[in-house]
């Protein structure tokens, strides 16, 4: 995504009608596993493509951080979806979602060790070998850390990006959540990440339960996350930022207000 795409949104079937009506929209992201590689596209998505809206497949089940090699069938599907959508890039997470034959049902954090870096890089290379386009990697929000981290978060991420050649999908809500839960400064992480490699940015809401901030994607985007968007854009403005909402969808006016708030915080034009 070399040209600025501005503000976009995570496309979900539940908000397809809302997304279809956004006049200034230039890109959306879709969960790669929800798209058939060859069958019909979900209703509404084809119309967006016909309008020239860029659709980025976002994988959630590849388990790039798993110690085992990625499942070739999943990689093949991912690549086929990218080709089908004519996407300029794809994205996945720096995380694992299964181990020992059991699905965790969620993105789990890796130990920040050299062994884990090796595992991620090996899997990213396997995926890159099949992909027609570049991949961007997203660091996740983690409620817990492993006890034996060898690297700082910035070192861990930079090493993975350097060795794989992947781009960065930076989720500012994850940066905020991790910093808040670890008692660190989110802006400091921004200072240590290779921001010139950011392909696009996720913005999402969350909520606090029992002293921990949860990156829920079902709550409103809090003010400090928008402030972090501004802090990021002051350092280096990414070419694209998008709202991620995954449930408890608010009325259209509230969703539009969230998109406008991201536009305001980043200085991009409103898409509503």
């Amino acid at each position: 995504m070399a040209d600025p795409y501005g503000v976009g949104v995570g496309w979900r079937p539940e908000i397809a009608g809302f997304v279809a009506e956004l006049p200034g929209l230039r890109f959306v992201e879709v969960v790669a596993e929800s798209v058939h590689a060859h069958g019909e596209l979900p209703p509404g998505l084809q119309e967006l493509l016909d309008r020239g809206v860029t659709v980025i497949p976002h994988g959630v089940r590849l388990s790039l951080g798993g110690a085992d090699p990625v499942d070739p069938a999943r990689v093949e599907h991912f690549a086929a979806v990218a080709a089908r959508l004519e996407a300029p890039l794809v994205s996945e997470h720096i995380a694992f979602v299964r181990a020992g034959g059991i699905e965790a049902g969620h993105l789990l954090p890796l130990p920040r060790t050299r062994e884990a870096v090796d595992a991620v890089v090996a899997n990213v290379r396997r995926v890159q070998a099949s992909l027609p386009v570049p991949i961007a990697l997203e660091p996740i929000a983690a409620l817990f850390d492993w006890p034996d981290d060898e690297l700082t978060e910035a070192q861990f991420l930079t090493e993975i990006l350097d060795r794989s050649g992947a781009r960065l999908l930076l989720d500012v809500a994850n940066v905020y959540a991790n910093a808040r839960n670890r008692g660190t400064d989110p802006a400091e992480l921004l200072d240590h990440l290779p921001l010139e490699r950011v392909a696009y940015v996720h913005v999402a809401g969350g909520a606090e339960h029992q002293g921990l901030y949860h990156d829920t994607h079902t709550d409103a985007v809090p003010e400090p996350v928008l402030d972090l968007v501004t802090a990021l854009c002051e350092r280096q403005r990414p070419p694209a930022l998008m709202l991620e909402r995954d449930g408890d969808y608010p009325p259209a006016a509230a969703l539009a207000a969230e998109l406008d708030a991201i536009a305001k915080a980043s200085g991009y034009p409103s898409v509503t």
Binding site: R98, A99, I102, G105, E115, F144, H209
Partner: protein
């Protein structure tokens, strides 16, 4: 590959222990913060509950505000099989115990008629016609079309 810390096992082994602790009620691996690990375990169950509710809206509706808690209690020691199968397994479990909410009976009967699900692998479309009766609901499937014949 860099050698793992002494006595800690390789990455794959440690990841497997972590997933087992999160999904199958196994003990929290050594060295992890127990409070945070438990918070992650509960968040995971609630997220699964939300996903199953989207796939099985009437099943979730049958429990109202209690849905996430009920699902979490049932799923605590059952690793995720995907929201279609998780909801299906719960609905069948409830049926066996006579606890399926009546508003969810039609949803289950329609799926039982349309798909063959062995409880262990991905459901498949049925080739032949099927009539399924569950918790007072009856559904008939012929050539891929499903008719609901009776509600409880």
């Amino acid at each position: 590959m860099t050698a793992p810390p002494a006595g800690a096992g390789g990455l794959g082994e440690r990841q497997a222990a972590l997933v087992a602790a999160l999904t199958a009620g196994r003990p929290v691996p050594e060295g992890f913060d127990g409070f945070r690990f438990e918070a992650a375990r509960v968040a995971l169950l609630r997220k699964r509950a939300g996903e199953v509710a989207r796939q099985w809206p009437m099943l979730a509706a049958g429990f109202g505000d209690r849905w996430k808690r009920e699902f979490a209690a049932w799923a605590a020691a059952r690793p995720a099989q995907g929201s279609l199968r998780d909801g299906w397994d719960l609905a069948r479990d409830l049926t066996r115990r006579g606890g399926l909410p009546s508003v969810a009976a039609a949803e289950l009967a329609e799926r039982e008629a349309a798909w063959h699900y062995d409880g262990a692998s991905a459901p498949r479309s049925r080739r032949g016609p099927a009539l399924r009766v569950t918790s007072g609901a009856a559904a008939l499937q012929v050539a891929g079309r499903v008719w609901l014949l009776r509600r409880p």
